[in-house]
């Protein structure tokens, strides 16, 4: 029954007019920039605030530990003869940032070092001082008992643990931290895209209604064709945007990888080198399976289709955006609910709760990619969910086109849920 040629014309118009629009160009460029900024900003702030020269006074009763600390970093640590009570006063006055008291008995494995500071010192500072003191105290104590090199190595050694994921293709090394992060990002991108493109559909329906062109169009094509054309056109637009981002992202990663290595490898000292290289390993991108990419795009598309059918119905039932709030509310709830389950689901992606939530067609677009990122899922879950979503879309677009067909001809009044239900049942 659908007239292909007209449908193609509508798809073409919906796609091309938007592709050329300023909003599309601006959002294509801005969205990844904002995303990168959100990811990089915290690190940058940390790095920038870390640049500040900090110095802590060291009151040392052992006579050795303090020297070692200063030898290690003479800017960070400074020995002082002042008594703790005096240091306390100057800390209160704000003359110094903090001080460290190293008691005599610490070399006997008793007592404890104390780190005094104003306000909060920050995690990085505290953990650095703790590890510096620990390393030095341990070395001195080992020296005292003439420990062999062997013992020292044993002590310094960390137990290595591999993290392996077994899938049908075999086993692969996995960094679950990275994959969890990746899943989150994918979930958030889909979340944003469903809102963004849903709003595009809703506005577009509303624009046709308020500009009154819809009746002219409706005298040439069936409302269902117009709706399908619109949804398809905007879906293609979304895909285009994703492709642009993916290509740009891949190019950026290729360019950035060597830079990261250079940047990380830049510090001379051996200890930091080791640390840096392990950090660099965390930063280098582990292989992302093509299934995950396909799943991501597929769930984005299906999610878009399901939600755009809903948004289109809302758009056709109101005259202006401010009236749409009430009708939009249930849709927004449906999109937000899976966000609340993002953490529990990615933490234990095989739990019954995670499986069932991620298979609900309205939640799947966000939760499925998150699970797919951390786990290789059995086929029935992915395939079944895709099937469910397709069914949901077919039912929704049918209901929506019935609301749409009546809604586009109704001016000047805001429809209630009850009326929408009536429009669906009308023949």
């Amino acid at each position: 029954m659908i007239q292909k040629q007209k449908l193609l014309l509508i798809i073409q118009r919906e796609y091309l007019t938007r592709l050329k629009s300023k909003i599309f160009i601006v959002s294509t460029i801005l969205a990844p920039l904002v995303m990168i900024l959100l990811l990089v900003l915290p690190t940058m702030i940390q790095v920038l605030s870390g640049e500040r020269d900090r110095q802590f006074m060291v009151y040392d009763e052992t006579g050795t530990v303090g020297n070692e600390l200063v030898a290690n970093d003479s800017v960070y640590y400074r020995l002082t003869e002042s008594l703790p009570e005096e240091l306390r006063q100057s800390l209160i006055r704000g003359d110094i940032e903090g001080f460290l008291v190293i008691p005599h008995e610490i070399l006997d494995g008793k007592g404890q070092a104390s780190f005094y500071h104003g306000g909060t010192a920050g995690m990085t500072v505290t953990s650095r001082i703790r590890s510096d003191v620990q390393r030095i105290v341990r070395n001195i104590r080992l020296d005292r008992v003439d420990a062999s090199q062997e013992v020292r190595t044993i002590l310094a050694d960390r137990v290595q643990m591999e993290n392996l994921t077994i899938s049908e293709e075999g086993e692969e090394e996995a960094d679950s931290g990275f994959y969890m992060f990746l899943g989150f990002i994918m979930g958030f991108i889909i979340y944003g895209a469903m809102f963004g493109y849903g709003a595009v559909i809703m506005r577009s329906v509303m624009e046709e209604k308020t500009s009154r062109i819809v009746e002219v169009i409706a005298s040439s094509v069936r409302p269902f064709e117009l709706l399908m054309g619109k949804v398809t056109g905007v879906a293609l637009l979304g895909l285009t945007q994703f492709v642009i981002w993916a290509v740009a992202g891949a190019l950026l990663l290729m360019a950035a990888a060597p830079l990261v290595t250079i940047f990380m490898g830049g510090n001379g000292e051996a200890a930091q080198m080791a640390e840096a290289s392990s950090e660099a390993a965390a930063f280098s991108v582990p292989a992302i399976s093509p299934f995950l990419w396909i799943g991501f795009v597929l769930f984005f598309l299906l999610g878009f289709l399901v939600y755009s059918a809903l948004f289109a119905a809302v758009g056709s039932a109101v005259d202006q955006e401010s009236d749409s709030q009430q009708l939009q509310l249930p849709i927004i709830m449906l999109i937000i609910i899976p966000l609340m389950f993002l953490f529990p689901v990615s933490d234990d992606p095989s739990s019954t709760m995670a499986i069932s939530l991620s298979m609900v067609p309205f939640f799947a677009p966000i939760l499925m990619p998150v699970r797919m990122a951390v786990l290789s899922l059995p086929f029935w879950q992915v395939g079944g969910t895709i099937l469910l979503m397709i069914l949901t879309f077919v039912v929704l677009i049918w209901m929506s086109s019935r609301i749409y067909r009546t809604g586009i001809l109704m001016y000047g009044k805001k429809a209630s849920f009850k009326e929408l239900w009536k429009w669906i049942r009308e023949n």
Binding site: Q3, S211, R212, I217, S219, S220, V221, L409
Partner: protein
């Protein structure tokens, strides 16, 4: 095109009904429309004109009955032969005039090149070709109305439907539209014309259908309908106090103003008697025995 469908009805409504909730918007309506005529759908707001049109344009489907156009049931095929100017008008504001017109023509089945050619012709005809690259939203209201009109007729439809075409038009565009409608009729196109302003259509319509509360109360050739009523109305132009009109019995007075009245003679009223009484009270500038106006015919039909 003239001659093609000359004798067969272009459009026929067969016992068509459409109900919204409890309200019968169109109530068992039947009529035929022949080609090359201007057909007026008349009646007050809410009488069922727009609903009838929406069923003709296949936007709505009748609950019962059937509508045929060019000998086939209305549907996607008949839509291609239609030009429709809805009461609520509008275009895509962000789209350029040319792109938009091409899009609308192609939706009605024209090829891109055909569409371009026709659009060029009509835009030039209305002195609007220079706007082809501008966004519709940038144009003045009058300009937009011209573009809308071109959008309605550019695909050369055999049947044109105008719903309240003159509402919101300035006098210049109004006259332009009137001339274009007459020209299209002379080319053999069938033109539908819905309005609640009945005096507007007297000069334009060949046939009329009068609607009230969803029912078709009268339809047919306008001049025949009028002559069937005979010269039973008076047009009186005068100056002076019009109070005497209130005392005349067995008449119905329409379109009354300070110096004009249309007086419909009912049973027992005598035109010469009215002339004498008018003479006693006011200065008479014109006194003419005429056929009733459409409005009078409408009121007469409703009251029956």
């Amino acid at each position: 095109m003239p001659g093609g469908y000359m004798n067969d009805p272009i459009v026929s409504f067969r016992d068509v009904s459409k109900q919204f909730d409890e309200h019968m918007a169109v109530d068992h309506v039947s009529f035929d429309v022949k080609s090359g005529r201007i057909f007026g759908l008349l009646g007050p707001n809410g009488a069922g004109k727009t609903t009838s049109i929406r069923m003709m344009t296949y936007i709505l489907k009748p609950d019962t009955g059937s509508i045929e156009m060019f000998g086939q049931p209305v549907g996607p095929e008949t839509q291609k032969k239609l030009g429709y100017l809805p009461e609520e008008r509008g275009l895509y504001k962000k789209m350029k005039v040319g792109e938009q017109l091409v899009y609308l023509c192609r939706l009605r089945g024209l090829s891109r090149n055909e569409a371009r050619e026709r659009i060029r012709y009509w835009l030039e005809r209305f002195g609007a070709y220079d706007w082809i690259g501008q966004e519709v939203g940038e144009l003045s209201k009058g300009m937009q109305q011209k573009i809308q009109f071109v959008a309605t007729i550019a695909h050369d439809p055999d049947c044109l439907i105008f719903d309240e075409p003159f509402s919101g038009l300035d006098p210049i565009n109004s006259e332009m539209l009137k001339q274009a409608i007459l020209e299209l009729r002379d080319q053999g196109k069938t033109i539908f014309f819905a309005t609640h302003r009945m005096e507007q259509v007297e000069q334009l319509c060949d046939d009329i259908a009068l609607f009230n509360n969803g029912k078709l109360i009268l339809h047919g050739d306008l001049s025949k309908i009028r002559s069937s009523y005979g010269h039973n109305s008076i047009r009186l132009r005068f100056s002076g106090d019009s109070k005497f009109l209130n005392d005349i019995e067995n008449v119905r007075i329409n379109n009354r103003s300070t110096n004009y009245a249309e007086i419909r003679l009912l049973d027992g009223a005598d035109d010469q008697d009215i002339l004498r009484r008018a003479q006693d009270h006011v200065r008479i500038h014109a006194f003419e025995l005429v056929q009733p106006s459409i409005q009078e015919i409408f009121i007469d039909s409703v009251s029956k």
